[in-house]
């Protein structure tokens, strides 16, 4: 049993404040050798701060870190690395123009008389990759690799540098179900070889499936550490949020309209990421677009919205051909669009809620008086958006970047729905959004659907796709390789389609 194994890592009383807020408030956390520990918490609960402290990127105000019983000061990431702490970030830190070997050996090159010993590096990498089943071509350029393979390179890089305790930040966020299964097999292999793993995740089922114990933090404090065998997703959710939270979304059957509101016919763009695409979205239905990262979802949505020019084919909104129309025209014809990138595309982080509330429709005459933008009219609009969408804090003069991800998303979706568009297109509806806000956002989309609007979503989160979509279209290398009805949308089916193993 893992319980009898000695502690590999112990963090005690970790405290860190930013300005007036305590990001970490006396956090205790411990991992044994050979153990997989889950670290669960909402966005902003303090997980990243804690892990950055462990990795030497942030200095704590108080508390101690012990590795194998020895107290250490993690003054930089190289100190952390030298004591066997490795980290796989959510956003990979690889150099695309370099090969796998070069990326792995970068900064830790074995040298002979000052010359990098490539043969030695390759030998070590191949050995590690075989030992843990991390299959990857050492000579491939990273830019040619898929997401799952890049992640394997990140893990190999940490192992190559001697990591014994590995932190993985949301490692499954970009993977298909089968890729997730494979990753979990690798992680179990690493644990049984005696390594310690810390898995940061908000996917409750994954934590249950993989970990031995889960530590839950909320508002910078540990609210509990539970044995995985004795817990349930519901209990984890309640601990994380601090109150009973419904994990299931009530979806009532709804009849779609007779005619499609959005028609896409033979659409291609000047980008090989997207093939030839045909589909319809009817009023009163939610269509989900599933696919692994990079399979063309963003490109498809941008082409429909008018941010990318079609090279052939057509897009029509409520029977009207808009293929040649600008994105602004499409907006005015009833096409709401929430892009995946909240703070640098859908909203402008540095600008106030007030200015963001008219973005994309800034040219409308209705905001103006005497030809100039009228602050009072815009303020009233911003206040209305804040009220109807429960944006907190309700201050229209705050820069958007001061809001949490969930509140940003509520503002953004609220703004795009405020025009009562016929069609709503939402990319990554709840990525990086806490559970409560996620539920609000998902309900808004269901309301839009029950209001007979056409809703099109793209998400890398299969659970979300399954929960919301009446139909799922699966994209693989830019082509729609399958359409699955709500009842048939299982991880198995979708996963095989997503990775092109079944067409």
């Amino acid at each position: 049993m893992t319980n009898e194994k000695p502690l590999a890592l112990r963090m005690t009383g970790i405290t860190k404040s930013f300005g007036g807020t305590k990001a970490n408030d006396g956090i205790d956390l411990a991992v044994r050798h050979g153990e997989i520990l889950g670290l669960l918490g909402e966005n902003g609960a303090g997980k990243s701060t804690l892990m950055n402290i462990l990795y030497g990127l942030i200095q704590p105000d108080g508390g101690t870190i012990e590795v194998d019983g020895v107290e250490l000061r993690m003054t930089s990431s190289s100190v952390a690395l030298s004591h066997g702490i490795g980290m796989v970030h959510q956003h990979f830190m690889l150099i695309p123009a370099f090969t796998v070997i070069e990326n792995i050996a970068l900064g830790a090159e074995p040298s002979q008389h000052g010359v990098v010993d490539r043969a030695e590096a390759r030998r070590a990498v191949v050995e590690l990759s075989e030992r843990f089943g991390l299959k990857v071509d050492p000579n491939a350029l990273v830019s040619d690799l898929g997401v799952a393979a890049r992640q394997r390179v990140e893990i190999l890089r940490a192992l190559y540098r001697g990591a014994k305790t590995l932190v993985l930040d949301e490692p499954t966020a970009v993977l298909s179900p089968q890729e997730t299964d494979h990753l979990f097999a690798v992680l179990r292999e690493m644990a049984s070889a005696g390594m310690s793993l810390i898995l940061i995740s908000h996917k409750l089922n994954e934590l249950i499936a993989l970990t031995h114990r889960v530590t839950i933090i909320r508002d910078g404090k540990v609210v509990g550490t539970v044995e995985t065998a004795d817990t349930s997703p519901q209990e984890l959710a309640t601990l994380m949020v601090g109150r009973e939270t419904s994990l299931v979304l009530d979806v009532v059957d709804h009849k779609r309209t007779a005619e499609p509101l959005l028609k896409v016919r033979g659409l291609t763009i000047d980008d090989p990421k997207l093939g030839v695409v045909d589909f319809d979205v009817y009023g009163g239905e939610i269509v989900g677009i599933a696919g692994v990262d990079g399979s063309g979802q963003s490109e498809l949505l941008e082409a429909i919205v008018g941010l990318r020019r079609a090279t052939s084919g057509t897009v029509s909104i409520a029977g009207r051909d808009v293929t040649k129309s600008s994105s602004r025209t499409r907006l005015e014809l009833g096409l709401g669009y929430v892009p995946e990138d909240r703070t640098t595309e859908g909203l402008v982080g540095a600008l106030s809620v007030r200015e963001n509330s008219i973005l994309r429709r800034q040219r409308r005459k209705s905001w103006r008086r005497w030809g100039l933008l009228a602050p009072s009219i815009i303020l009233a609009h911003a206040r209305a958006l804040i009220a109807t969408n429960d944006v907190r804090p309700p201050n229209p003069d705050l820069p958007v970047q001061a809001l949490s991800g969930g509140n940003q998303q509520k503002l953004l979706i609220g703004r795009e729905l405020a025009d009562n568009p016929d069609i709503v297109i939402v990319s990554q509806p709840t990525r990086g959004v806490d559970i409560a806000a996620s539920r609000d956002i998902q309900r808004r989309m269901l309301d839009a659907r029950n209001d007979n609007r056409a809703v099109l979503i793209a998400s890398l989160d299969l659970d979300e796709i399954k929960a919301l979509s009446d139909r799922v279209l699966v994209l693989f290398r830019g082509e729609i390789v399958g359409e699955v009805a709500r009842a048939d949308a299982t991880d198995e089916t979708l996963g095989l389609l997503m990775t092109g193993e079944k067409a």
């Binding site: 640098t344 595309e345 402008v348 200015e355 008219i358 973005l359 800034q362 100039l372 933008l373």
Partner: protein
């Protein structure tokens, strides 16, 4: 309103602290060179604000600086770094020299027409850089610097050939008196209507940036090109407005010098006002109204510096060193705002990297 006041206060804090620190450093330099800094600064203050003629010198120095400052600040709000102030200034000045001599219109129509034409000339030079940036990804810093050489030398050629006034100092003929920007009076020598033009320009730029959809689009572009595209902004048009608009202000500065200060354009003509505009914009935190303050500060340092030289025999270069030290401290944005997370406005010097991404 209270929120606005405190925003202004926090935006002004860093430049003010930078000014104080550089005056201290200046004092140290003076001590080393055996000058009493208190006497020197007293002389600096007297030379810049101590009398009507000192104030006049400060304000007439400030007039073109305010405008070349806005030329930088305006473009920077759109995410572009306008180093082309000198060329745009020369384009405006040579246009003013040509029309100021040849145009014969009744009343204020004369100077107004000349000013508009000069602004258009500056705008054309700026917009050219904008087009090259947006269409061909030519970096605006390189392009605007190169355009400086081209435009300034074309202006010099024009002055020595078609516009030659056959005066003792090579350059254009004197402009017609009715096209001149009249002295402002109030017993302030050297101050002319150009100062009013500069202040009106600052207000106009502020209204454009914060009260028009185009201005919002420009600022969105300056912060995130992606968000601008999402908002339906045409990148080429945005770049042309940013650099063309900036160029218009620099062109006005050139016209003001010809129509108000010198009465003609000589070979060579005043230079460096475009570059000093970068400093003005830094001091003014890239706000057109802030540029009024920035222009006056630099104008005062230059006027007072001359007085220091006159009174104490301190080299006028010391004043220039002071200006340079002030600007270096202002660029060190985190030195005075360490604990603040949200910056009032970003510095243009960080934008070179950002603007490379488009």
């Amino acid at each position: 309103m209270n929120a606005k006041l405190s925003a202004i206060r926090s935006a002004a804090l860093a430049p003010a602290l930078a000014l104080v620190v550089s005056l201290i450093i200046g004092a140290i330099i003076m001590l080393i060179s055996g000058v009493n800094p208190l006497t020197a600064y007293e002389s600096l203050l007297r030379g810049s604000f101590g009398s009507a003629s000192a104030l006049g010198k400060t304000l007439s120095n400030a007039t073109p600086l305010i405008l070349t400052g806005i030329a930088v600040a305006f473009a920077f709000r759109g995410g572009l770094f306008n180093i082309g102030g000198d060329g745009q200034f020369a384009a405006g000045a040579v246009t003013a020299a040509w029309l100021g001599v040849s145009l014969n219109l009744p009343g204020l129509l004369g100077p107004i027409t000349v000013l508009v034409a000069a602004a258009l000339a500056g705008a054309t030079v700026g917009a050219l850089a904008g087009v090259l940036k947006a269409r061909f990804r030519a970096h605006e810093v390189v392009v605007t610097i190169m355009l400086n050489f081209i435009v300034v030398n074309i202006a010099m050629w024009l002055l020595m050939h078609p516009l030659d006034g056959f005066t003792q100092v090579p350059g254009s003929a004197q402009i017609r008196p009715e096209n001149a920007l009249a002295p402002l009076g109030f017993g302030l020598p050297g101050v002319h209507l150009g100062l009013v033009v500069a202040i009106v320009a600052a207000i106009a730029a502020t209204i454009f940036l914060w009260r028009t959809p185009n201005g919002l689009e420009l600022r969105v572009t300056g912060i995130s090109v992606k968000a601008a595209k999402y908002s339906g902004v045409n990148g080429t048009v945005a770049a042309m407005i940013a650099l063309g608009g900036g160029g218009a202000f620099a062109g006005l500065a050139g016209a003001g010098e010809v129509l108000g200060t010198y009465g003609n354009m000589t070979v060579p003509f005043v230079t460096n006002l475009g570059f000093l505009g970068i400093g003005v914009a830094l001091l003014g935190r890239n706000h057109p109204l802030g540029c009024i303050v920035g222009g006056i500060v630099l104008g005062a340092l230059s006027a007072g510096g001359q007085r220091m030289q006159f009174d104490l025999g301190i080299s006028a270069h010391l004043a220039e060193i002071l200006v340079a030290v002030v600007l270096i401290f202002i660029t060190m944005e985190t030195a005075f705002t360490r604990r603040r997370k949200v910056r009032a406005s970003p510095s243009p010097l960080n934008s070179i990297e950002a603007s490379n991404d488009r």
